[in-house]
């Protein structure tokens, strides 16, 4: 086996080796047991005292959601206004301008909802102040919001019949002080010592060896890049994201970054098993998710390693798909990243997805369309939970028993919520794509900053894929893009802004509501007739539900985009 494939496999193994103990640790943190980070508790007590938060007050699921929406509202208003006036605020050594209102709207939502879609380029679109006080800040708190929401799920199933599901602010704060901040410091140091800048110096001007005058953008990037991955945020400091040689300088940092983005989503699954004292269920969920990951990983590897057949027609023997990729990573590590970043809603890139092969593009989009394998910060598990409920219901019908999950009956109300959430994602993606395709076709001359006629960087089916990808990424809160799309104009800023907002909060509220409702119900002890949810059979059942739902909803659109392009090559 060559060193590039070995690199990918070793990366995955290290991820597993870190995620498992981390999951145990996270379960302990949310149970309030003793951990090695207890030295943080004076800081936490100080934070709670100043903020006036009574940590002993437990909330029901509705109170949790109100608290979550309330603090998110505060962040949205704060972020929007700071971006709007960043040009006249301090810490702007490169003299970058303030954002236009539509771009500030899009950017503040994008980072608030953990999506990190970027319609600007980091070097020119933000100042150091907004990179840190808005972007980095939101990357911490939006990730912690997702984890705090999933902690409600943990609590709902850990106890028999309960309304009290812990305190949102406690879950949120502890996620930052016990999980995100300590890990970020470690990752940021690894990056800084391997070439990522961390100082506040502005752009440098140099004369190159050949005599050209160029500038080099820099800044306190290392800390931001650490949380961008650990928080599955994905928004880059530089325009080229983690393909940029300062954002991701070596093969080693590439491993660190791709491991950092996967460990917490994986760890949360293990943590779920430990927390509710049903380890086997945690392992079963992990198994299905890994199967899902491989379903997208294997075709992507083959398609990327196969190279671009068009190059053979030109007469090249080496047809490697190196467009949009960096030599220091090579094709396998880029393909591995493409899949991981799309299934877990990070959306950072170390290669340009727009230039990847058609089937890889299809896999990237499917990763975001299913949006539940490992999943983003907490939210992946919440999405998976929806599919789990649907699978329980269908299995119940198949064997002719009342569907039950964890000792609670699943009834009409929960099923309605689950079905709505499962259909909401395709609805947002497909309606958005349809509207944009209509505008490109019938109103190419509309007087926007980028005319619809010049939105697409590539003709034909690939151009359609650019629009489909953008809405898929927005609704899945992923944030990566087929970046050829001319997206910094009022149409894309507003529509994707709305899609991101809905695509974030509805899929958080839905599963938490189901969990809250189930938790209140009478607990039925397991009997011989209970449907076992931690078996391989049920795992396969869940996997089938996910794939069938995704296939039915999205295949027509995929056929018009990447699949048609594949057959033309």
């Amino acid at each position: 086996m060559n060193s590039e494939m070995t690199g990918v496999i070793v990366t995955f193994i290290i991820t597993l080796l870190i995620a498992f103990p981390l999951g145990k640790y996270i379960a302990k943190v949310f149970k309030g047991e003793k951990t090695i980070t207890d030295f943080m508790s004076p800081l936490e007590r100080l934070i709670f005292r100043i903020s006036g938060i009574d940590t002993t007050k437990e909330m029901n699921w509705k109170q949790h959601m109100v608290a979550l929406l309330c603090i998110n509202g505060v962040w949205l208003i704060y972020a929007f206004y700071v971006l709007l006036f960043q040009g006249s605020l301090p810490l702007n050594p490169d003299g970058n301008p303030s954002m236009a209102p539509d771009l500030a709207f899009n950017t503040s939502i994008s980072f608030l909802v953990n999506c990190n879609l970027q319609h600007y380029s980091g070097e020119t679109g933000l100042t150091y102040l907004t990179q840190l006080y808005v972007i980095t800040f939101l990357q911490f708190v939006s990730a912690a919001t997702g984890v705090a929401a999933v902690a409600v799920l943990f609590r709902a199933f850990a106890e028999k019949t309960t309304e009290k599901l812990g305190n949102f602010f406690v879950f949120f704060t502890k996620t930052i002080t016990r999980i995100l901040l300590p890990l970020s410091i470690i990752v940021a140091c690894l990056l800084a010592f391997n070439g990522t800048p961390a100082s506040f110096d502005g752009k440098d001007s140099i004369v190159t060896l050949q005599g050209d005058s160029v500038q080099v953008s820099r800044g306190p990037a290392a800390g931001m890049i650490a949380i961008k991955h650990l928080g599955t945020n994905g928004g880059g400091w530089f325009g080229a994201n983690s393909a940029h040689p300062l954002e991701n300088p070596t093969y080693f940092t590439n491993m660190v970054e791709v491991i950092a983005q996967v460990i917490l989503p994986m760890a949360l699954i293990f943590a779920f098993g430990f927390f509710i004292r049903k380890r086997k269920l945690g392992y079963a969920i992990f198994g299905v998710m890994t199967l899902g990951m491989l379903t997208f990983m294997i075709p992507t590897m083959f398609s990327e390693l196969g190279g671009n057949p068009s190059f053979a027609k030109i007469g090249l023997h080496d047809i490697s798909a190196m467009e949009g990729k960096e030599v220091r990573f090579g094709v396998p590590a880029s393909a591995y990243w493409q899949v991981m970043t799309t299934i877990i809603s990070t959306g950072s890139v170390n290669s340009m997805h727009d230039s990847s092969m058609p089937l890889s593009g299809a896999m990237q989009m499917l990763g975001m369309m299913t949006n539940c394998f490992y999943g983003g910060k907490g939210v992946g598990l919440l999405n998976y939970f929806i599919f789990l409920i649907i699978a329980v219901f269908i299995s119940g019908l198949m064997v002719g028993r009342t569907p039950e999950f964890m000792g609670r009956k699943v009834e009409a109300r929960e099923m309605k919520i689950a079905a709505m959430i499962a259909l909401f994602h395709p609805f947002l993606v497909l309606v958005g794509t349809a509207i944009s395709a209509y505008i490109v076709t019938y109103h190419p001359q509309a007087a926007w900053a980028v005319q619809p006629g010049s939105w697409l960087n590539n003709p034909g089916n690939h151009g359609f894929s650019e629009m489909l990808y953008e809405y898929t990424s927005s609704s899945a809160n992923n944030g990566s893009g087929f970046e050829g799309l001319g997206d910094n104009n009022i149409f894309w800023n507003i529509t994707t802004g709305i899609v991101m907002l809905l695509g974030r909060f509805i899929p958080i509220i839905g599963p938490v509501a189901i969990a809250g409702i189930l938790a209140k119900k009478k607990y039925i002890p397991e009997s011989a007739g209970t449907l076992q949810t931690d078996t391989a059979t049920f795992g396969i059942m869940t996997y089938a539900v996910i794939m069938i739902l995704a296939a039915l909803a999205f295949f027509p659109a995929l056929t018009l985009g990447p699949i048609a392009e594949f057959f033309q090559l």
């Binding site: 050949q210 500038q215 491993m255 030109i314 727009d354």
Partner: protein, 187 residues
């Protein structure tokens, strides 16, 4: 909602202090101990900075080894890939033009031997590296124009070929800027 508003605002202020003020300052402080003091590692020649170790530079002269095509012309004020799709006819014409130009500048090289990475733009537009194969294919041109022994140039390429991480993980590569700096030093 009202009950949670004031705690939310206060908690927000504290988190800004913790995550956006203290944390980046801590990292900036620690990075002072790193090579390049966290400002990016530079390479100097005769006391003058000629480049950043990790940032690729434009080399168009025949006497230098070339790096990969760039969508931002190697100006690191920004960064971007071409975002061209694999089936785009205009893009394939661009690739064809790069091949033609490479063949004109490298007489004796056959089209089949050109590595794809030399005619495709990198993801960042600032890729500092090429593969050993891409360096070796340029040795003849560089040696001829500098009146150097081909073997001496080949040795230099071998010297600059960086092994995979720990010898087993990832690709081999050659840093073009470092190679060219040492090339200028050859007698």
């Amino acid at each position: 909602m009202k009950k949670y508003l004031l705690p939310s605002i206060k908690l927000t202020a504290l988190m800004i202090l913790l995550c956006a003020v203290l944390y980046p300052l801590l990292i900036a402080g620690i990075a002072k101990l790193a090579p390049g003091q966290g400002k990016g590692e530079t390479i100097s020649l005769n006391g003058k900075v000629v480049g950043y170790e990790n940032i690729g530079q434009k080399f168009t002269a025949d006497k230098y080894f070339w790096g990969r095509p760039s969508a931002v012309d190697y100006n690191a004020a920004g960064s971007a890939g071409s975002n061209k799709g694999p089936s785009n006819p205009d893009y394939l014409k661009t690739v064809q033009a790069r091949i033609d130009s490479f063949l004109v500048h490298n007489p004796g090289v056959r089209k089949e031997d050109i590595p794809a990475e030399m005619v495709t733009a990198s993801g960042s537009g600032l890729d500092p590296d090429i593969s050993p194969a891409s360096a070796i294919i340029q040795v003849k041109r560089v040696a001829a124009i500098r009146n150097l022994n081909e073997n001496a140039v080949m040795d230099l390429v071998a010297k600059h070929t960086e092994a995979p991480l720990l010898g087993i993980l990832g690709p081999k590569k050659v840093n073009v800027l470092k190679l060219n700096i040492d090339l200028d030093k050859l007698p």
